[in-house]
């Protein structure tokens, strides 16, 4: 029996859409306090609910790589943010076993004014890796990232490709048990992508698990062992890479494109 590293149970995330453009002000907060109104009563006042995620249940086992596929706005990034603990769910829960290292969007917590070197340590600390360990692995991180020349340059002067190289290099060296990667690698050039995919494959072989978001079917096919198809905040289908979901997804895609 394999170890479950991540168990997502009935996970939901609700947002309130404010149709009137009204900033969240101290005044409205105070009047809410004064009249005993709660945030739910505001929904009644004409603000619309939006469920970015609705009752999503998934499991991830050790050594697996789950690819989330789906259109923009289907809830993939919301799911990744919740399991990276950046935002809380509205309902449901996740049980996580192991350290999660996330690469969400570009930047992944880099501080623009700090140099590459300083950011390696800061980012490492944010990913729960002590600076002692980072110091030992600094050469390896720098080597992987290929930004040696710019190590003492503030990262705000980095190109987006350099940014993501460094971010990936740090995340690859913090002994994470679960790697969460949101499409960011697409920014890197072909060589770097190849390097990352090779690295990821070796990690999955060693018992590291992964959750990736990718719009590239080729990348999914190469890396993923499992697929979860998200649609409108719900899990439309999920299963192994061989279960035909990916093909179905591709077909639905091209079908849409063909229709006028």
């Amino acid at each position: 029996m394999t170890n479950t590293v991540m168990d997502v149970v009935d996970l939901s995330k609700r947002y309130a859409l404010h149709h009137r453009q009204r900033p969240d002000s101290l005044k409205s907060w105070l009047s809410n306090l004064a009249w005993g109104a709660t945030s739910t009563s505001r929904d009644a006042k004409g603000d619309e609910e939006f469920w970015a995620l609705r009752d999503v249940s998934l499991q991830l086992h050790q050594g697996e790589c789950l690819a989330l596929i789906g259109k923009n706005g289907s809830g993939k990034s919301t799911l990744l943010k919740i399991l990276s603990r950046i935002i809380p769910p509205t309902a449901g829960h996740i049980v996580v076993r192991g350290r999660v290292a996330s690469l969400l969007e570009i930047g992944t917590g880099f501080h623009p004014d700090l140099t590459g070197r300083e950011n390696i340590f800061l980012n490492g600390a944010m990913l729960g890796c002590p600076s002692r360990t980072i110091r030992q692995r600094l050469d390896s991180i720098v080597g992987f990232s290929g930004v040696e020349r710019f190590l003492d340059t503030p990262v705000k002067r980095y190109s987006s490709g350099m940014y993501v190289r460094l971010a990936y290099a740090v995340a690859a060296h913090v002994d994470a048990d679960i790697l969460v990667i949101d499409e960011v690698l697409a920014v890197g050039d072909a060589d770097f992508q190849r390097q990352c995919y090779g690295h990821l494959e070796s990690q999955f072989g060693r018992g590291v698990s992964g959750i990736i978001v990718s719009h590239s079917v080729d990348v999914v096919r190469r890396l993923a062992s499992h697929i979860a198809w998200m649609d409108g905040g719900r899990l439309r289908d999920h299963g192994g890479i061989g279960s035909g979901i990916l093909e179905q997804y591709e077909n639905s895609h091209s079908g849409e494109r063909d229709s006028p």
């Binding site: 935002i87 809380p88 309902a91 990913l127 018992g207 979901i245």
Partner: protein
């Protein structure tokens, strides 16, 4: 399942399409897989104080690095470097000695050298007037970091206030130099000095933390606080002694928690000047505790929602 339900039932064996073991090309997970740490629950509930404290400790290196960076940025490319730390409070003292001691004539009534009395007000005031706004803006300034990684959000305002606290501690060198200049030696009361210092640190950290969290959501705070600090200067005994306040106004005046701290510094460093300000110290300690409790409560309730609120 309820949002706050911590109960972990053995669940969901019935998820479709989740059968395992048969994917060709995948190394089948074997017993030599790395051992996993104990599980963590992510749900809608707010963290407990104890859990949050553990996380603060676990991620303390993030705070070290933010502090280090702030110190470097503050003094990098400055010609006078660390001298700025002492120069600003020194100038404030000189101006206030002139305005309050000489022009307003408070000087004659004091048993201790007037500049030393002013230092006891200027040094803490300078700290508060920097630390509170620095703490307040810190989360908003770092929002892009918060949006991309998790660590206890409180580390950011704590680090911001801590940098000012380092300046605060160093600034007391001015008082020491003043003592040498005036050949003045404090009495036994100096033993209480660290306690008042600690209280001020707690107060500023709590205020910075609370305002930082509020400022993410309510931009009004960013307008209010600088104004309050400008007004507060005149309602704090920085340049004049507490005793100058008419007696019937003193209880109201002492609701400003800085009154008790500053008078406490004067009592402890200036040989019990004006007697122990019991009323002001009691009110100040009570307000410090209340602010700290409220700040922690609000932080625990809001920490995880900050990104959604921003």
């Amino acid at each position: 399942m309820n949002p706050g339900d911590k109960h972990l039932d053995p669940r969901r064996q019935d998820v479709p399409g989740d059968e395992h073991g048969g994917f060709p090309g995948r190394p089948s997970p074997a017993s030599e897989l790395p051992a996993l740490p104990p599980s963590r629950l992510i749900d809608a509930s707010a963290p407990s104080l104890r859990g949050y404290w553990h996380e603060l400790f676990a991620f303390r290196e993030v705070a070290y690095m933010l502090i280090r960076r702030d110190l470097i940025v503050r003094f990098r490319q400055t010609y006078f470097g660390l001298a700025w730390l002492l120069f600003k409070p020194l100038m404030l003292m000189a101006v206030m000695s002139f305005a309050f001691g000489y022009l307003a004539g408070f000087q004659e009534r004091q048993s201790a050298p007037y500049p030393l009395m002013i230092f006891c007000g200027v040094i803490p005031w300078y700290f508060v007037s920097n630390a509170v706004p620095d703490g307040m803006v810190s989360l908003r300034v770092h929002i892009f970091v918060i949006q991309q990684t998790y660590f206890p959000r409180a580390l950011i305002p704590i680090a911001a206030v801590f940098v000012d606290a380092i300046e605060f501690v160093v600034a007391w060198l001015l008082f020491v130099m003043g003592c040498i200049w005036f050949a003045y030696l404090p009495g036994w009361q100096v033993l209480a000095f660290p306690l008042f210092g600690l209280q001020l640190l707690v107060l500023c950290t709590a205020l910075g933390l609370w305002l930082a969290v509020l400022n993410v959501r309510f931009r009004d705070i960013g307008n209010l606080i600088p104004f309050l600090i400008t007004v507060g200067f005149f309602l704090t005994p920085v340049g004049y002694p507490y005793a100058a306040v008419p007696e019937q106004w003193q209880p109201l005046y002492a609701l400003n928690p800085l009154v008790g701290v500053i008078e406490g510094f004067r009592w402890s460093l200036l040989r019990g000047l004006n007697g122990f300000p019991l009323g002001a110290v009691a009110s100040s300690v009570a307000i410090t505790i209340a602010v700290t409790l409220l700040a922690v409560r609000h932080l625990l309730a809001t920490d995880r929602h900050l990104v959604d609120l921003a």
